[in-house]
C-alpha cells in the first residue's frame, strides 16, 4: 500500500470536519442527557437539539419544526416514501420516480410495487436527466407521490425538481392530492437549497456527506403533510420518528449544516476548480474515455468517467494500491451481475458501464492530490489496457 493517500470518494462519505468533531466530542462528554427528560440535563440536551434543528432547517430554507431527525438518508427516504404512501392510500396508489434513484428510494418503490402500488420510472437520456414532458405524461389522477432525486449520486446530474414542484402545485391547485419528495443527499451542502423554491413537500439529507459523522440524517416534512410513522413507540420528533434522539450526532449535524451554509459558495467553487483541472488532464492524457452525464447540469465536485477496454473494479483496486480512493459502477464491485443501473440508464453499452469510475472531490483535496491521482490513473489504465483482449493489438511481453 502506498504511503500517500488521496481521498476522491467524497460522494460516498466525507471526512469529519475537525470543527464538527470538536463540537461533537464536547457534546458527548458534557451534554449526555436524554432530550426527553424533564430535568436540567435533559433540558440542556433539548436546547442543543433545537439549536441544531434550526441550523439544519436554515441549510434548506425550512422552518425548524419541519425537520425530522433520522439515522441517515436511507431511513429518511424510507420514512418519506412509505410514510407518505401509507397515509395516502385513500387518494391513490401510483408513484412516479426516476430510473436513476439511489437504492434507498428505488428499493422502497420496488417494495411498495410488490404490495400493490403502481410505479412509473421516468427514463433519463444520454445526459442523465429526466424530462418534464415524460413526467407530465406519466401523471395520473391517482398519482400520490413523485420522488425524483435532486442530484444523482453516481454522475452528479441535477434533476429539474423545481419544475416538477411547479407541476405538482398546479395539480394540487386543481384539487389532486399529490406530493413531491426529493432525495437531496448529494446536493445538500453542494448546491444552495430552498424547499419553497424547489416546491417539494419532503426532502432527504444526510450528515455524513456534509463533513459530519455517519448515523444521522434528516427528513424535511412540509407543514401539513401527513406521514404514517415507520418507527413507533415514542413521542420524539413530533410523533413522526420514535426513539431517543442521537443528541451528539444531531449537534454535529447542526454544526456541519451551519458550516456548509456559510462556506457553500467557497467549497463549491473550489471543488469545481479541482474537478475541472482533473477532467482537463484526463482528456488530454488518456484516450478512449467517455465522460458520463450532462456537462453543465451537474454537481461541481463529481466526475464520472468510463474507461474503454477495462473493468472498473480492477482500476479501482489498482488506484487503491497506490493510495487513491474512488468508486466504480462495475458489477463486481456491487456484488451483483449487472453493472450500474445509472450508467446503463444513459443508454451506454455494458463495457462502458463496467468501466465507469466516480471521482468525487472534497474541501480537503488539493491541486497536488489531483496531479498525483492523474499520474496513478494513467499508469493503472495503461497497465490494464495492456492486459485487455478488447484492445486492438498486443505484442508479447512480460
Amino acid at each position: 500500500m502506498s504511503a500517500r493517500r488521496v481521498y476522491l470518494d467524497n460522494s460516498a462519505t466525507t471526512p469529519v470536519d475537525p470543527r464538527v468533531a470538536a463540537v461533537m466530542t464536547r457534546a458527548l462528554i458534557e451534554n449526555f442527557g436524554n432530550a426527553s427528560s424533564v430535568h436540567g440535563f435533559g433540558q440542556q440536551a433539548r436546547a442543543a437539539v433545537d439549536r441544531a434543528r434550526r441550523e439544519v432547517a436554515a441549510l434548506i430554507g425550512a422552518r425548524q419544526n419541519e425537520i425530522v431527525f433520522t439515522s441517515g438518508g436511507t431511513e429518511a427516504n424510507n420514512l418519506a416514501i412509505r410514510g407518505l404512501c401509507e397515509s395516502s392510500v385513500a387518494h391513490g396508489r401510483h408513484i412516479i420516480t426516476s430510473a436513476i434513484e439511489h437504492p434507498s428510494v428505488a428499493g422502497v418503490c420496488l417494495e411498495l410495487e410488490k404490495r400493490g402500488w403502481e410505479v412509473t420510472r421516468l427514463p433519463v437520456y444520454a445526459n442523465g436527466i429526466v424530462k418534464i414532458d415524460d413526467l407530465a405524461h406519466a401523471l395520473r389522477v391517482d398519482t400520490v407521490l413523485i420522488t425524483v432525486m435532486l442530484a444523482n449520486n453516481e454522475i452528479g446530474t441535477i434533476q429539474p425538481v423545481s419544475h416538477i414542484g411547479s407541476l405538482v402545485r398546479e395539480r394540487r391547485a386543481a384539487g389532486q392530492r399529490l406530493w413531491l419528495h426529493t432525495d437531496a443527499v448529494q446536493a445538500a451542502g453542494r448546491l444552495s437549497l430552498n424547499v419553497d423554491e424547489l416546491g417539494c413537500d419532503l426532502l432527504t439529507i444526510s450528515a455524513h456527506k456534509l463533513y459530519a459523522p455517519k448515523g444521522i440524517g434528516a427528513l424535511y416534512v412540509r407543514r401539513g403533510v401527513r406521514l404514517h410513522s415507520q418507527n413507533v413507540g415514542g413521542h420524539q420528533e413530533r410523533e413522526r420518528r420514535a426513539g431517543t434522539e442521537n443528541v451528539p450526532g444531531i449537534i454535529a449535524f447542526g454544526e456541519a449544516a451551519k458550516l456548509a451554509r456559510e462556506e457553500l459558495g467557497e467549497r463549491a467553487a473550489r471543488d469545481r476548480v479541482l474537478r475541472d483541472r482533473f477532467e482537463a488532464k484526463v482528456r488530454t492524457q488518456i484516450s478512449d474515455i467517455v465522460m458520463n452525464g450532462d456537462r453543465e447540469q451537474r454537481l461541481s465536485h463529481l466526475s464520472n468517467i468510463s474507461f474503454r477496454f477495462i473493468e472498473g473494479e480492477g482500476l479501482l483496486i489498482n488506484l487503491d494500491l497506490e493510495g487513491v480512493a474512488v468508486s466504480t459502477g462495475s458489477a463486481c464491485s456491487s456484488g451483483t451481475l449487472e453493472p450500474s443501473p445509472v450508467i446503463r440508464a444513459l443508454g451506454v453499452d455494458d463495457e462502458l458501464a463496467r468501466g465507469s469510475i466516480r471521482f468525487s472531490f472534497g474541501k480537503d483535496n488539493t491541486d497536488a492530490d489531483v496531479d498525483y491521482a492523474i499520474e496513478v490513473l494513467m499508469r493503472a489504465v495503461e497497465r490494464l489496457r495492456a492486459l485487455s483482449p478488447l484492445t486492438v493489438s498486443h505484442g508479447s511481453h512480460g
Binding site: 463486481c332 463496467r354 490494464l384 492486459l387 478488447l390 508479447s396 512480460g398
Partner: protein, 119 residues
C-alpha cells in the same frame, strides 16, 4: 475476506501478459454470465508448456487468475497442466472471496480449451 498480498502483487505486476504469434494453441473463453474474458496462448514443445501468455478483461480475480495460471503451467507437461484444479489455482492466489470463486472456473476452462486445441 480481503484480497491476499499475492493477489495484490499480481494485480499491480501481472506476469506473462500478451499474445504469442507463433503459439501452438490459443483459447479465448468468456463467462457468459458476467462477461469476463480470458485469452491464453501457449507454446508447447515436446509435450511441455514452454511459454504461456494471457490477456484478460473483467474483475480483478479474473485478471489475477490469468497471471497466476501462466506461472503455474509454465514448464509443466500437458498432462500435468490438465491435472491442475480450481482449488490449486485458488491456493496459489492465496484465496478469494467466495463470490469471486467463479474466476478460477474461467481460468481452468480456458486452459482446458487451449490444451484441447493441441491435439
Amino acid at each position: 475476506m480481503a484480497y491476499s498480498a499475492t493477489f495484490k502483487e499480481h494485480l499491480s505486476r501481472p506476469r506473462n501478459v500478451g499474445e504469442l504469434p507463433e503459439a501452438s494453441a490459443i483459447a479465448d473463453e468468456k463467462n457468459p454470465v458476467c462477461g469476463d474474458r480470458l485469452r491464453l496462448s501457449l507454446i508447447v514443445k515436446n509435450d511441455r508448456i514452454e511459454t504461456a501468455r494471457y490477456l484478460a478483461y473483467g474483475c480483478p480475480p479474473t485478471l489475477v487468475c490469468g497471471s497466476v495460471l501462466t506461472e503455474l503451467i509454465t514448464g509443466k507437461t500437458t498432462t500435468e497442466a490438465l491435472e491442475l484444479t480450481r482449488a490449486d489455482l485458488l491456493k496459489a492466489i492465496g484465496g478469494l472471496p467466495s463470490r469471486k470463486h467463479h474466476a478460477t472456473a474461467l481460468a481452468i476452462e480456458t486452459l482446458h480449451s487451449a490444451l484441447a486445441k493441441l491435439n
